[in-house]
């Protein structure tokens, strides 16, 4: 979770009386089950639209009903010892782990407990005027103190979570009380922020990333080219996506690159007579001067390039540029081509730009702004004619229209042969899935070692890469349950991947849907070879990396970094006595410093040991039979991937919460704030009520406050 919210909120007074919350422990609300009201009735999103009193009521509801009072067992089970990033559970969780409620609740901390923690471990240095880092914790006595300086407490939570504080030469808390303290801080911040009503982020200003640039040029000119191939590639920020505004830098090299790219794209488009006629919609003739023709072309082109109506001044300005160039050599085509290139190097084309709100209050984004927000979210490209028309008609904030548009935009048709045709939603599926799962690394950061990859070729790599993408596209287009991501009875394979999986059927190069049976040992993300490969080393599997991948990617509860100065693990390899990977890794768990996190990570990875580096099924590795059994810190035991998926299914709320966070971060193209956590929570609940339907997730995000509103200046 980003700390942006903390920054913004620090100076803001908390509007609501806090003591009512603080007086009873958030963690141990005894009356949860009795008082439970279906969370669906509570919608914290439109908080800012409601009168203050309503928000207050809602927040009281939230607190007694849906707030993270509940059960930490979810996060706890996997991530207990390592702490949990997003420990907020919902009613559904409570039902799911009903029997575990008491036990989990007792692990929580009260405000008194937090004060005691500070007194025991922090106060020695953080006291008085000379307090370390200027952080004086002497007066800390209640949750209100956290709520009134959220930024500082966010930092404290991070430092304690990551084991940087208390320093190693002082008295150390147990790992358990460490996580309980961190959880208490984060829950307290969550409460404070959500009770304050949801706030959207600022107006968007970011350049198109490389993918968006290529797609936009493709759609603007209507020609199937990749105009972005020579642009520098983008890094990721926020929730891990390369559309995050904060990491879309501009280096000096960009202007030159954009100029080249626009020139070659337009040049390419004008070569074909049909394309040329579509773009150069008017040419001079007896009745039309070159200037008039140019004006006509620009009046059509500029609004599409700028994704909004172009003003008369803007059309004048570009017509003037046309005139200047035309005067030189009297060549209409070369002058208009040149003018269109200019429009494509303009920041009005290259940047997603939203007008700042005129008041300090959160404001609906404009019709054209939401058209772009929708199209860059669901297509990674510019709005099409229909979106632009609806924007012009002022209809894009209607819930019904949004619903129709989302369904339309997610559509992907299947042809007679059962193949999914090219669909714009695939751009979204690709960008989101590859970055969420980390499978973009396949063939880039991850290349298998030749010792394990004799039959590894581009068709197999393609099949591996596209399996999760087509799978996700299927869930979106056909509005299936997102629980299929945990386990499913189908997947998508091409010819080579089918052989790799030993799945029977008629396949060609393009991925095609295939029904799975139990003996296939596939289904869900954990059976997908791309996932299994990118969480391996090039030459061998790594239960540690795979376990970390499950915690981090599926559950959103990354373990903290390894403590500094970890003693090197001496790995004695005795050739005469082959030891299994499991035996070697047992050392992780015999050392208490390592054990606290590896007890949560390693077993998850061992549960996937039946899959080799490239995800092929196996029963023996290094001459030793695979032992895919494990025990989680919670005490639950399992054997093999199927049972592991069962345990994940028990934690579906945590999984959905994490998926929702990732999706919201992608949709907003920025890192999430403390405040966004409230929105995530509300959407996660709606998702549970609607059988985890994929389109519900998208639609709820599209209708959410941060997606439809922008903050005032």
């Amino acid at each position: 979770m980003g700390n942006r919210g903390g920054v913004e909120l620090t100076d803001e007074p908390i509007r609501f009386e806090y003591s009512s919350r603080a007086s009873s422990s958030i963690m141990t609300s005894p009356s949860y089950n009795e008082e439970r009201i279906p969370c669906g009735n509570f919608d914290c999103q439109p908080g800012l639209l409601l009168p203050t009193s309503t928000v207050f009521m809602a927040s009281r509801f939230a607190q007694s009903v849906c707030a993270p009072v509940v059960v930490f067992s979810l996060a706890v089970i996997f991530a207990d010892l390592c702490g949990s990033e997003r420990p907020f559970a919902s009613a559904e969780d409570a039902r799911a782990v009903d029997s575990g409620t008491d036990d989990a609740g007792s692990k929580g901390l009260t405000a008194e407990g937090a004060v005691e923690f500070v007194q025991s471990y922090c106060i020695d240095c953080h006291v008085g005027e000379d307090a370390e880092s200027g952080l004086d914790l002497e007066g800390f006595a209640s949750a209100e103190d956290v709520a009134s300086s959220i930024e500082a407490w966010n930092r404290i939570a991070t430092r304690v979570h990551e084991g940087q504080m208390p320093p190693s030469d002082s008295e150390m808390p147990s790992q358990q009380s460490r996580s309980a303290f961190v959880r208490w801080i984060r829950d307290t911040i969550y409460q404070a922020v959500c009770d304050d009503g949801v706030q959207p982020g600022g107006p968007m200003l970011r350049r198109l990333n490389r993918t968006e640039y290529a797609n936009t040029v493709r759609d603007l000119l209507g020609i199937p080219i990749n105009a972005g191939h020579a642009l520098p590639d983008d890094g990721a920020g926020g929730e891990g996506f390369d559309n995050a505004a904060e990491t879309l830098f501009i280096s000096p090299i960009y202007a030159e690159k954009y100029l080249d790219a626009a020139r070659s794209a337009i040049g390419h488009a004008l070569k074909d007579p049909d394309d040329r006629e579509r773009i150069i919609t008017a040419t001079p003739n007896d009745k039309r001067s070159p200037e008039q023709a140019a004006r006509e072309v620009l009046a059509g082109f500029l609004p599409r390039a700028f994704r909004r109506p172009a003003s008369t001044e803007e059309i004048d300005e570009y017509t003037q540029l046309f005139n200047q160039v035309y005067e030189e050599d009297q060549s209409y085509i070369s002058a208009i081509e040149f003018t269109l290139v200019a429009a494509m190097v303009s920041p009005k084309f290259l940047f997603l730009f939203e007008q700042a709100a005129e008041t300090d209050e959160p404001t609906l984004v404009s019709q054209y702004e939401i058209a772009s927000r929708l199209s860059y979210f669901l297509w990674a490209s510019m709005p099409d004619d229909e979106l632009m028309r609806l924007a012009a008609q002022g209809k894009l904030h209607d819930d019904d229209v949004l619903e129709q548009q989302v369904a339309r935009m997610l559509r992907s048709d299947v042809d007679r042969r059962g193949l999914r045709r090219g669909a714009k939603v695939r751009e979204f599926a690709t960008s989101f899935v590859e970055q969420w799962l980390g499978t973009r690394a396949l063939g880039r950061e991850f290349k298998p070692d030749k010792s394990v990859a004799l039959k590894y070729d581009s068709e197999l790599e393609g099949g591996m890469k596209y399996e999760p993408i087509f799978f996700f596209e299927d869930l979106l287009a056909d509005n299936r349950s997102l629980l299929n991501l945990i386990d499913s009875d189908f997947t998508y394979v091409n010819r080579t991947l089918a052989r790799h999986y030993m799945v029977k059927g008629e396949f060609r190069e393009q991925p095609k849907k295939v029904e799975l049976s139990e003996k296939d040992h596939r289904g869900g993300l954990l059976g997908m070879s791309a996932v299994l490969a990118v969480s391996s080393f090039p030459h061998r599997t790594s239960p540690v990396l795979r376990g970390k991948w499950v915690l981090e990617t599926l559950l959103g509860t990354p373990p903290p970094p390894a403590p500094p100065n970890v003693p090197a693990l001496e790995e004695t390899v005795d050739a005469a006595q082959p030891s299994s990977l499991r035996e070697r890794l047992e050392k992780h768990r015999s050392d208490p410093v390592c054990a606290s996190c590896h007890q949560a990570m390693d077993p998850l990875g061992f549960g996937l040991e039946n899959y080799d580096v490239l995800g092929r099924w196996r029963t023996v590795a290094d001459g030793v039979a695979i032992d895919a059994s494990g025990q989680l810190p919670s005490g639950e035991t399992f054997n093999g991937p199927d049972e592991l998926k069962g345990l994940l299914m028990d934690r579906k709320e945590q999984f959905m919460r994490n998926l929702t966070s990732k999706m919201l971060g992608y949709a907003l193209a920025r890192g999430l704030t403390n405040e966004d956590a409230c929105v995530v929570e509300s959407i996660t609940r709606k998702l549970a009520e609607d059988d985890y339907k994929a389109q519900t997730l998208i639609l709820e995000i599209v209708k959410s406050v941060p997606f439809r509103y922008k903050q005032g200046s």
Partner: protein, 460 residues
């Protein structure tokens, strides 16, 4: 004929012919390079100082994941040192080499094992812990300080090159965006510089910069004026933070405009290439998996850029921080780079680690020898260059920035006292070396970042 494989090259290069063939794919001939190769100059010929009017160049080559310690540092110090096993490939250019021991980068000591040590490698500052918002390296990289000084004299102020795309995603485990692990050049605290990853695109930039189309320049300026005005219109509607982003784009556009102006100006201010680039010599489009060739081609591009004087400042990343690149193309190596660097004192992993280290040093030697083969006036391009080579951490197992593996090649127009192994007092600031390099470069700097002075013994 493939110049990599001519007898002369083969003799000079420690890389075996077999390795090259396997790595390169025998089909890939590179005749274009030949055109670029002026007559070879022997080591003896290349000694001696360059005339004052030859331009000085500076490059920094970054290697991820540290080195195997016991095979890196030469035993003896001074002029009389013997190359260590890992440094052996530099035998032919030993007289043009400085081995620097016990330098450290204090500012990168905390944070995490890799990202801090990558982004902070040339800045000697501590970067902000961030997934994106608040991304800040809190300084500028020393190459950009050099580019401030020399950048206006050449068509391209600096070149940023790499092999790996920016690593996917953010690292939620340690709380850093991987953007940090993919950049060493920072033009400002919040401006990492994008790198070019394709050798043929680098070539195109070099070529265009050296062969401006004069007719088009005037037109292009009209276009850029339009773009600048559009940016200006938007800028006025933005908040302060976003204005900064728009300003970045404005600057980017202005830099193109400035280049056009210079081309138009004619006369004394007009830049002339020292050697003309031949369009025929454009490198081939690369197979995406041809790492070995891609590295070679990038190093060739650095050499061309310096030889033609298209730029005088360049950075290059062999890989991103935490790179797990599979080095099994080397005989005897089976693992990924990062995994191998966590050797845990395992004999076999240490052996493989050293082979990877040595391969990188071989590439460095290739660049130095290539620059030395490029004759200019009385000396060679290498004589007029300072080529830094190093990693942001010492040992991949312990990740600390003490006693970094640092080399400097080229005598910087006679200003660098090469041919020595210098060992300093424990924890001498790396920034002291950068201060020395900037000083030799002519920027007038006596200090850089957390330096405490100019590193003694480096300047001649």
């Amino acid at each position: 004929m493939n110049v990599y494989l001519d007898d002369e090259t083969n003799r000079q290069m420690p890389l075996s012919r077999r390795t090259l063939l396997r790595g390169a794919g025998a089909a890939l001939a590179l005749p274009w390079l030949e055109a670029m190769m002026p007559g070879k100059v022997s080591a003896a010929e290349s000694e001696g100082k360059a005339p004052e009017d030859s331009p000085l160049r500076m490059a920094a080559l970054f290697v991820p994941n540290g080195v195997r310690q016991d095979m890196w540092t030469p035993e003896k110090t001074g002029r009389d040192f013997d190359l260590s096993p890992t440094l052996e490939p530099l035998a032919d250019v030993k007289d043009q080499l400085l081995v620097l021991t016990k330098l450290w980068n204090q500012a990168s000591n905390f944070g995490d094992g890799h990202y801090v040590k990558c982004s902070g490698f040339l800045t000697c500052t501590t970067i902000n812990k961030s997934l994106g918002i608040d991304l800040n390296c809190n300084g500028r990289s020393m190459d950009q300080v050099a580019a401030d000084y020399a950048g206006k004299l050449t068509p391209l102020p600096s070149l940023e090159l790499g092999i790996d795309p920016v690593t996917t995603g953010v690292d939620t485990n340690v709380g850093y965006t991987r953007v940090y692990g993919s950049h060493i050049a920072w033009s400002g605290p919040t401006s990492p510089l994008a790198r070019e990853l394709n050798p043929h695109l680098v070539f195109d930039r070099l070529f265009r910069a050296g062969n401006p189309n004069k007719g088009a320049a005037q037109r292009d300026r009209l276009l850029l004026d339009r773009v600048l005005e559009d940016a200006d219109q938007l800028k006025h509607r933005l908040g302060a933070a976003d204005r900064q982003r728009m300003e970045e784009y404005l600057q980017s556009v202005r830099s193109v405009e400035k280049r056009l102006q210079n081309q138009d100006a004619g006369g004394a201010t007009q830049w002339q290439p020292l050697v003309k680039l031949d369009r025929q010599s454009r490198p081939p489009e690369q197979r995406p998996d041809a790492y070995v060739e891609q590295v070679r081609l990038m190093l060739d591009m650095i050499a061309l850029a310096f030889q033609t004087d298209t730029t005088r400042v360049c950075t290059f990343m062999f890989g991103n921080a935490v790179s797990g690149r599979n080095f099994s193309f080397l005989d005897g190596v089976s693992g990924g780079h990062h995994d191998t660097s966590h050797h845990q004192n395992n004999e076999d992993k240490l052996r493989q680690y050293q082979l990877i280290n040595r391969w990188h040093v071989e590439q460095y030697a290739y660049l130095l020898e290539k620059l030395r083969s490029m004759k200019e006036r009385e000396g060679t391009v290498l004589d007029n260059s300072m080529i830094l080579y190093g990693s942001g951490l010492r040992d991949g197992n312990s990740h600390n920035p003490h006693n970094l593996p640092i080399l400097l090649g080229g005598s910087g127009g006679g200003r660098i006292a090469t041919g020595q192994h210098l060992s300093f007092g424990r924890d001498t600031p790396l920034a002291n070396l950068y201060a020395a390099m900037l000083n030799a470069f002519g920027t007038g700097h006596e200090r850089f970042a957390d330096s405490t002075g100019i590193l003694p013994g480096v300047l001649s």
